[in-house]
């Protein structure tokens, strides 16, 4: 189960909405082994594509150095799908390299009708996808 604050959910959705029609991506870091997402870090999609995302390699190194220095880990890795549902694609699964992370997917496919944004979370370990419950709280 992913437990996350309403404020972080709002930030992730706002980022996805802002970058639409490109895919948005980022991380929510938290203290090592805490499983508690705390620090919202929107990343640039170096691919600048509606169907693909990739962190810029320089930004990636900076991000991991910074998390290392702060004894943090990527608790949530999020990205948006802009025309399909919020379910991991084959590409997502093959490049999922953080077995400890919650992979959050937001769909902005319904942006124009301003319908509900799908916000779903998964574990992706060795090619196996498991959807998990998302518990949204006011504070930890």
């Amino acid at each position: 189960m992913l437990t996350i604050t309403q404020a972080l959910v709002d930030q992730i959705v706002a980022h996805a909405r802002k970058d639409h029609p490109d895919e948005a991506c980022g991380v929510v870091a938290g203290p090592e082994d805490s499983d508690r997402p705390e620090r919202f870090i929107p990343m640039l999609n170096a691919a600048m594509s509606p169907t693909f995302y990739e962190f810029d390699s320089g930004d990636l190194l900076k991000l991991y150095r910074e998390m290392d220095d702060r004894d943090e880990e990527p608790v949530v890795v999020y990205h948006s799908h802009t025309a399909t549902e919020a379910y991991p694609s084959r590409t997502d699964i093959s490049y999922a390299n953080e077995p400890g992370a919650h992979y959050v997917l937001v769909s902005t496919a319904d942006t124009d009708s301003l319908g509900d944004f799908q916000f779903r979370s998964y574990r992706i370990v060795e090619g196996e996808v498991t959807e998990e419950e998302v518990r949204i709280v006011e504070a930890y």
Binding site: A47, T51, F52, Y53, E54, Y64, H79, A83, S89
Partner: protein, 92 residues
């Protein structure tokens, strides 16, 4: 002196959980071959067909080696090498 190699979480099963290991070699290719002798299986996760895997980033002293000489980049004692899998995906 040796070359320090920082290992990402996903590859730590090959290094008994160590975050960093030491290696030797004149190029990255030689360094990864050297790591393989102590951490069997790790090389294939980084190298494929003699080239770096597309979605594995390797940095030499904070520089992405794709902008240097890729797997043929020269390394020397005291250098720091960081391996980080790309964070990538998408509906494509």
């Amino acid at each position: 002196m040796a070359i320090e190699v920082r290992i990402p979480t996903i590859l730590r099963p090959y290094t008994d959980g160590q975050k960093a290991v030491q290696g030797d070699g004149d190029t990255l290719a030689e360094l990864f071959t050297d790591l393989e002798t102590r951490h069997a299986g790790i090389q294939a996760r980084i190298v494929d067909g003699g080239e770096l895997r597309r979605f594995v980033n390797v940095y030499l002293n904070d520089e992405d080696v794709r902008f240097l000489e890729g797997i043929n980049t020269k390394v020397a004692d005291g250098d720091n090498v960081t391996i980080l899998p790309a964070v990538a995906g998408g509906m494509a």
